[in-house]
Symmetry: C2
């Protein structure tokens, strides 16, 4: 394993930074099961629609979630199962402390 480049260190930090907010953690958690629309997420995790929407935009920009529009609804889901792996690694860790 060699030294990480400056750029890669930043990219890696950026990635983890996305997981580093409890609202986004909650969103990712409810999306582990199935795709959900914004209002469902908002109600499930008890965070305002606006706050959820702002965070979904961040998750979308970092390509951690994808979405599809269906009528008035926008359904969000995890982009790939790497996201779940990283997430579960974290869960495992805090469960062992």
């Amino acid at each position: 394993m060699e030294m990480l480049s400056e750029e890669k260190s930043i990219d890696l930090a950026e990635l983890f930074k996305i997981f580093g907010d409890s609202t986004r953690v909650k969103i990712i958690n409810v999306l582990l099961h199935k795709e959900l629309c914004v209002n469902d997420i908002s109600e499930l995790i008890n965070v305002s629609q606006s706050a959820v929407s702002h965070q979904l935009r961040i998750l979308k920009q970092s390509k951690l979630v994808k979405y599809r529009k269906d009528g008035q609804n926008t359904y969000y889901s995890l982009a790939d199962n790497h996201i779940e792996k990283i997430f579960m690694m974290g869960v495992e860790h805090i469960d062992e402390i």
Copy 2:
């Protein structure tokens, strides 16, 4: 998989937040190989001694690194191999984008 509790969501976010800074990423990266003292880390990653020391404190507080003192030196190393796993999951992810 059930719903994460509020507290667990916060703990999980706190954990990822630690990985969410490029200086800490660089520190963790150089510690993957072997234990190192503060000055070595500072020179290897090209970050001031003070900044490294501040970040090591954060890593220490979150129990991601451990340390041992030997004379004037303080040698730091990763607390357990969970840290490496989480880190490498992230590396894998960004390598695949």
